[in-house]
């Protein structure tokens, strides 16, 4: 089956991101397809390249990045939610004349259309709320 997974929680702050990560791993293990990851609301912080979790704790952002790379997943961070929360790629950094960008390269900023398109064309949509 073709899944869309929506993540609304930041790592560490809520359990949503971890649950979503484990769910995605399990569905891929079962041979299902993960059409799109959509990071929305506080979920956009999953795309930050600047987090430094303690060495003896799970690095959830790192885990997401590895999963995305390994399975060549389409990981979209909602651009409107990200701008409000200070998660920027190089293009938005330039557009808003900000001193830095912080989106990890495995993620793409894009609009809500990406959520709707995925939702309209997949078999299952699962939301992980915070």
């Amino acid at each position: 089956m073709k899944f869309t997974v929506v993540i609304l929680g930041a790592p560490y702050s809520s359990a949503a991101s971890y649950s979503a990560y484990r769910f995605c791993r399990a569905l891929l293990e079962q041979g299902h397809q993960l059409a799109r990851l959509f990071f929305y609301a506080d979920g956009v912080h999953n795309g930050s390249a600047l987090t430094c979790p303690p060495q003896d704790e799970l690095d959830l952002q790192q885990a997401w990045r590895q999963l995305i790379t390994k399975h060549q997943l389409d990981a979209v961070v909602c651009i409107a939610a990200a701008l409000r929360r200070g998660v920027l790629d190089a293009a938005e950094r330039d557009r808003y004349a900000k001193p830095a960008d912080n989106l990890a390269c495995e993620f793409n900023l894009s609009g809500l259309g990406q959520l709707i398109e995925a939702c309209a064309t997949c078999d299952r949509t699962v939301t992980f709320g915070a």
Partner: protein, 101 residues
């Protein structure tokens, strides 16, 4: 078509599970995840409604890793432990997944 309901809040502090139980149809399933796992304990404020739902044929599951992390051992009868593989399978068996949070 049927729905899988996930609930991730404890019914001791939040009314998500209560609302979910009111809206649940006969063919649906409920999966308690994260702090939702506290809903599966014997003194759960929703214990009665959960048992009634179960009697109506609604499958009630709890994500075992979340229950285990929280130290929850003596769970209500008729609540079946499952893992992430089971979560995915439940998602496939139901057309829609509604998350109560």
């Amino acid at each position: 078509m049927s729905t899988l309901h996930t609930v991730n809040k404890s019914p001791f502090s939040n009314n998500s599970l209560e609302s979910c139980l009111q809206l649940c149809s006969e063919q649906d399933c409920i999966l308690l995840i994260e702090d939702g796992a506290y809903g599966a304990v014997a003194h759960s404020p929703c214990a009665g409604s959960l048992q009634q739902a179960s009697a109506r044929g609604i499958g009630i599951y709890v994500l075992q890793s979340d229950a285990q992390a929280r130290g929850l051992q003596d769970l209500l009868d008729n609540i079946e432990p499952t893992d992430y593989q089971g979560f995915v399978q439940l998602s496939c068996q139901h057309q829609c997944i509604q998350s109560w949070y």
